[in-house]
Amino acid sequence: MNTISLERRRLGDEPPTRSAAEDMVVFERVQKTYDGRTLVVEDLNLAVRRGEFLTMLGPSGSGKTTTLMMLGGFEQPTSGRILLEGQAVERLPPERRDIGFVFQNYALFPHMTVRENVGFPLRYRGVKGAEAARRIEDALEMVQLGGLGERRPAQLSGGQQQRVALARAMVFNPKLILMDEPLGALDKQLREHMQIEIKQIQQRLGITMVYVTHDQSEALTMSDRIAVFHQGRIQQLSDPVTLYEQPENRFVAGFIGDNNTLACELAGTENGLVVVRMQDGTRLLTTGPAGSPGESMTVSLRPERLGLDTGSRQGAHNRITARVLDKTFLGDRVRLALEAFGDARLVASLPAAEGAAIVPGCTVAMACAAADCRTLTR
């Protein structure tokens, strides 16, 4: 075991005191505007827990990168406070924050070797000689780049450059690591591989990580918690499963995974379930927040939760008769474009074997559990 992991252990072993001490970073009512007119970040309140992997997810322009830049010290909040381990840091320059930052496109120094890049932060922390050499080696070993220390960044593949950036951000045992779309430039396979590797390193060392991405599957794979950003606001902050299963609003429902969003109005409640009325009058049993009867709302339903009605389902569920408009073969699954509730369009995703006999034009009986139909009021 190298020192990095040992020291992290010790940090992680600290007994939890108050909840505030568990918060590595706290954003308090943070606002940011560049032009004095539009707020890029509106009233941000967010606590990052010690040792957690928190992802800020959102489309471009949603404020997630600005938030990360404020935390890294590259931008200053227009108002509000940012606390790092309880200390206000808005005015602290980046070099004194002791935060590891992995940049989009890595920002490796092209005129330095890999070893010099990784050793760069140690130079400013008084780590010299054999100790520095050992820590550089350890960091390179950790990202499986041992032996490439004398190369220049330009002589490395994209994936290797990414690893150097990671090693450089971790070699000085920062209390927090920030990553700004670090895998955006890699191809799909390598990206998926690195997602797992980064997650493993983070868990092994117990480091707090704040990760920015616009790729929802990356966020779901890696995160302990995800903050979904949109229009300068956090739309939802929860663990991946909750985010997927119980989106709190239409934006989140649409942004995370495929989803059918269907317009309806509230009919009432029944046995703790929410009953809604579709366009054509069909009643659907759903779960989620309810409003006043007659209020128009949205039901969200994942394509893979809409299956063929085999009559063997347990619990409260809905039957839906639909006409098949189109069928797409996806290898392990088939995707059906359906028309139901009058002229509403929805999509279902079935195991390929189940959908084998279905042809466009035929009518199918579908079913879904009430728990999978989520009502959204916003």
Partner: protein, 415 residues
């Protein structure tokens, strides 16, 4: 069967390369054909003239053409003692023809480079040819000027019978040949050329350093400025570049004059009590040249600075480097390609300056180019001009080669 075999076997490596070359030949030829007119044009209007001019540095036609008989007679001479009567007779015959063709002066001038006094000796003999009595000519030559009994004088004539001479090139580096052909330093009072070369390199170096010191921070500020301000600043760099070099030099003449603007301002501000001598000085020359070369240094540096992403400085700071350290360790090293391009270009161009030293500089500030022009215009000494041109060209081309290696011709940008 054999045919199928040969089809199935892939081409071996050398065959493949030959096949590739054959397949690409039409494309290569077509591309070359487009560039050929310009290449030929440059060779004819640019390469050939320069080549022709440079060969005059070693060409030695005078003695060979004006004293053909003498030269062939001296071929037999072993260089020991005064040559025999036939050499004097040949010289007399050659000089008689030279008198007719009025080429004696050119001969005298050429031989005078080798040994002072030769011009008057040749001219005097040529004048007295008619009054020479019949009979042996040698005593009559020697009676006219005892120097004709000097072995060294004949050695000089013999040596310069050769079509090629090193005289000009050696002189250009303050070396000379003695009568026996040995090479050595010339007398201190004649050793002026290394001083001129050194001065040229020194002035070009000063200008390069000055443009870097002034230009680097300026390029840095332009690269940081918001787009609108940067555009205005860039305009202030490009406008002088577009203004004719002569106009800019003229402006400096007006500024630096004893009654010029700078002195007027200094006096008005009470910074000096008497007018400073700025024209015809090294300071004035370097100032004007720095002003003219500054854009050439700034622009490549600026273009490199613009390409350094902001992420580099962010990364340096987030890894713990304080502002100055981040600048010197991360930013500055990455500007080196631009610094090299700008400084090499300014140094190359500064070496060849003519107009500005001619108008702003004093006698001690004239550079190699000015001497080349003077040798052509005033002294009509083409050989010396060509020898100096050779040296200037060697300096220029070696730095140009460094420029090509470090920067590359394809990366030159304009404006």
């Amino acid at each position: 069967m054999a045919q199928t075999m040969s089809l199935a076997t892939p081409l071996s490596r050398p065959d493949l390369r030959a096949a590739l070359r054959r397949a690409e030949r039409p494309n290569r030829l077509r591309a070359l054909a487009l560039a050929l007119p310009a290449l030929l044009f440059l060779i004819v209007t640019f390469g050939a003239p320069i080549g022709l001019f440079l060969t005059t540095a070693v060409r030695n036609p005078e003695v060979r053409h004006i004293l053909p008989q003498t030269v062939s007679t001296l071929d037999q001479w072993d260089g020991q003692g005064v040559p025999g009567e036939e050499a004097f007779a040949a010289l007399a015959a050659d000089l008689a023809r030279a008198k007719e063709n009025s080429t004696a002066a050119a001969l005298g001038k050429r031989l005078n480079y080798e040994s002072a006094g030769m011009r008057s000796r040749i001219m005097s003999v040529t004048r007295h040819l008619g009054s020479f009595a019949d009979g042996p000519l040698a005593p009559q030559f020697i009676a006219l000027d005892p120097a004709w009994a000097d072995t060294e004088l004949w050695a000089i004539i013999k040596r310069n019978g050769a079509p090629v001479t090193l005289y000009y090139l050696l002189t250009a580096v303050d070396l000379g040949q003695d009568a026996t052909g040995g090479i050595g330093r010339v007398a201190a009072d004649q050793a002026v050329f290394l001083d001129i070369l050194g001065r040229t390199l020194w002035i070009a170096g000063l200008v390069t350093v000055a443009t870097l010191l002034l230009g680097f921070p300026t390029a840095y500020v332009i690269s940081l400025a918001p787009a609108r301000v940067a555009g205005l600043m860039l305009l202030m760099v490009l406008l002088p570049l577009w203004t004719s070099l002569l106009v800019r030099t003229t402006a400096w003449v007006v500024l630096l004059q004893t009654d010029g603007v700078i002195n007027q301002v200094l006096l008005a501000l009470g910074l000096t009590t008497e007018k400073l001598q700025l024209m015809l000085t090294r300071f004035g020359t370097v100032t004007a040249m720095t002003h003219i070369q500054l854009p050439f240094t700034i622009l490549p540096i600026l273009s490199v600075m613009k390409s350094i992403s902001e992420g580099q400085m962010r990364a340096a700071r987030s890894l713990g480097a304080p502002p100055l350290a981040a600048f010197w360790r991360i930013y500055a090293p990455q500007t080196l390609p631009g610094v090299a391009a700008g400084c090499l270009m300014t140094f190359i161009l500064s070496l060849g300056y003519y107009i500005t030293p001619a108008l702003v500089g004093g006698p001690r500030d004239q550079m190699v180019s000015n001497f080349i022009a003077t040798y052509i215009n005033r002294d009509l000494n083409w050989g010396m001009a060509a020898a100096l041109a050779c040296l200037l060209l060697v300096m220029t081309l070696s730095i140009y080669l460094a420029f090509l290696r470090i920067v590359g011709a394809e990366r030159i940008k304009l404006g």
